[in-house]
């Protein structure tokens, strides 16, 4: 399997596709840095977590967190949509499967290589913003901020894993590259994009008859889960992901939550995201293992 990961990584890093994605990510980091530079002075960062403000502050221009919310699904889909069916269409699948390797190492290797690539891209973007941001604002991150940012990074990777898994699922199900690209994109537009999201803005309000079902339905959307997790992780002042009544908030002290409390808040969101990613991958794994190599 190591060999497959090694080859996939080599492929990714020499491909034009990844080059373009990398440039996108770098541009997004640059723009987000600019946004932070403009906004961070006025931002009401009451919590004292100024360094994290670099990631969350935006004004007219979106912050890095917003950019990442948009780009991670796109990167995930771009990395996974042709993972399996391209091997079939180029005729390399039967050649590889006739080598003494387990069949699952092909799909495992591709999934892991995709995740590693995605993790490297995001990690690079976060480091660039941290580095330049450090020069810009001159405030060093505290230990808690570093941990929070790291947890944020982990949740991005999980979120990305979901989209890679989804894209690989379609690449296992469909032989045509166009269809396996369009299907996850359609799901992204319906459920996962933060800019114009029909699910969040039309469908859920139309169906839901109470606040409870409203939130439950929203939380089917992987983007919504990720957004909630991100907010709770990066904004310690953030109190609750549900609906807070007036009686809840009266007398509430506006002090940042401790790391454990924030974690407790996002635990269900993170677990659900991991669950969704696992389901996507597991289904594609099973389908792939059962697929027959046929004489054509």
């Amino acid at each position: 399997m190591i060999t497959i990961i090694r080859k996939e990584l080599a492929d990714y890093f020499t491909s034009i596709r990844c080059f373009i994605l990398f440039i996108l990510v770098l541009l997004a980091s640059a723009v987000a840095l600019y946004a932070a530079q403009q906004g961070i002075r006025d931002a009401s960062i009451g919590s004292g977590f100024i360094f994290m403000g670099l990631f969350t502050t935006g004004g007219d221009i979106p912050s890095l967190v917003t950019f990442i919310g948009i780009f991670v699904p796109v990167i995930g889909i771009a990395l996974g949509f042709d993972a399996i069916n391209r091997e079939y269409s180029s005729g390399t699948m039967s050649r590889i499967l006739s080598q003494p390797i387990f069949r699952d190492s092909v799909i495992n290797g591709k999934f892991l290589a995709g995740m590693i690539t995605l993790a490297i891209m995001i990690f690079a973007a976060m480091l660039i913003v941290s580095g330049y941001g450090l020069r810009m604002i001159g405030v060093a991150p505290g230990a808690e901020e570093i941990i929070r940012l790291f947890l944020y990074f982990v949740s991005i990777v999980v979120f990305g894993a979901f989209w890679i898994g989804l894209a690989i699922l379609f690449s296992v199900l469909f032989r045509s590259l166009a269809i396996s690209l369009l299907c996850p994109l359609a799901i992204w537009i319906l459920l996962g994009n933060p800019v114009f999201n029909p699910y969040v803005s039309f469908i859920v309000p139309a169906i839901a008859d109470s606040i409870g079902t409203y939130l439950m339905l929203l939380r089917i959307s992987p983007y919504w889960l990720f957004a909630e997790a991100t907010t709770a992780l990066l904004d310690p002042l953030f109190r609750g992901l549900g609906i807070l009544t007036v009686s809840d908030t009266t007398g509430m002290l506006l002090r940042p939550l401790s790391l454990e409390q924030s974690l407790l808040l996002v635990w269900p969101q993170l677990t659900t995201l991991i669950g969704l990613a696992v389901i996507c991958f597991a289904v594609s794994y099973v389908v792939f293992m059962r697929q027959e190599i046929r004489a054509t």
């Binding site: 060999t3 497959i4 080859k7 050649r95 080598q99 027959e292 190599i293 004489a295």
Partner: protein
């Protein structure tokens, strides 16, 4: 014969959606021979190969390669077997050498071993100079050669080649056929599928003919021809200066001669064994000049046609 059997199938059967594609197939391939698998398109050759490699599960029956069950121990089978698919593909963005290296890695070869082996097989298929060119710039024939190199790089004990000469020019075909024929000396058994009968005839020791998933005939090439076309007999053609009824009579009396037919200056003689010496003597003794004489060799073409004629007659 008495040779070790390295590949054996027992009542191997495969069904796709209720249609039987391979029907109770029993094949036997002896060690270090070139075995030809023949049959029209859709006869189940490729499906049989996929089952031999454990890539597809048989509906019933079993296949054993070097004693390993293809379905239960596919990794052991695949470690010893190289496979050249009919529709072969490479990673187009990688060079020939990188493609081969990947396969060598998948076979757990060490780096030095892999490099040495890659150099050797590239040399063998004549691609040394193109080794560092991306495969997307390769012609069909070059890809086919690379496919052969790809099979050989893992040093297989058994090479299964599906249409190994497809897309090659005549010179290329000859080179590849020589290469394949030479493999048996390097302790490699070859199973090849081909539509080009003369190729099979040139290098194969044994053949099996499939039709609609069923085994039509299996055996050594020399025996098959006589079996198929002359009921196990020899056919001898004699050209003489002139043919007289007496001559026909004389030859007909030789022991072992079954039938004599005259056609112009030619005599077609069917015999139980190679009686050329006795016949030539009879012709010369009768005072007629003997111009030429030969034992009719059966081409695979004849054999193939013969079996498919039967097949056709059966249908009607």
């Amino acid at each position: 014969m008495g040779k070790k059997i390295v590949l054996e199938t027992r009542d191997l059967t495969k069904k796709y959606d209720g249609t039987t594609v391979v029907d109770r197939l029993n094949l036997h391939v002896a060690e270090n021979e070139v075995f030809g698998l023949l049959g029209p398109n859709g006869a189940g050759k490729t499906t049989t190969i996929l089952m031999l490699l454990g890539l597809t599960e048989p509906a019933s029956g079993s296949a054993r390669v070097f004693g390993f069950d293809s379905t239960r121990e596919p990794l052991k089978v695949k470690r010893l077997t190289g496979y050249l698919p009919e529709r072969l593909g490479f990673y187009e963005n990688l060079t020939a050498r990188q493609n081969l290296r990947f396969i060598a890695w998948l076979n757990n070869m060490s780096d030095e071993e892999a490099e040495g082996q890659i150099e050797q097989v590239l040399e063998a298929v004549g691609l040394t100079e193109k080794a560092d060119i991306a495969v997307r710039k390769f012609s069909r024939g070059m890809k086919q050669r690379l496919g052969i190199a790809d099979v050989l790089v893992k040093k297989p004990r058994l090479a299964i080649l599906d249409e190994p000469t497809a897309g090659l020019d005549p010179e290329g075909i000859n080179q590849i056929l020589d290469l394949i024929a030479g493999l048996t000396k390097m302790d490699t058994t070859v199973v090849m599928c081909s539509h080009r009968l003369y190729e099979v005839q040139r290098i194969c020791h044994s053949i099996a003919i499939l039709a609609k998933g069923k085994l039509v005939v299996e055996g050594a090439l020399d025996d098959l021809g006589r079996e198929a076309l002359a009921g196990g007999r020899y056919r001898i053609e004699v050209e003489t200066a002139e043919v007289s009824p007496q001559l026909v009579e004389i030859i007909g009396k030789i022991k072992g001669v079954n039938n004599v037919e005259a056609e112009g200056n030619f005599l077609h003689i069917t015999t139980d064994s190679d009686l050329r010496a006795a016949i030539s003597k009879a012709v010369v003794n009768s005072g007629v000049a003997l111009i030429q004489m030969k034992v009719h060799e059966f081409s695979l073409d004849d054999i193939y046609k013969r079996y498919f004629q039967e097949e056709g007659e059966l249908k009607q």
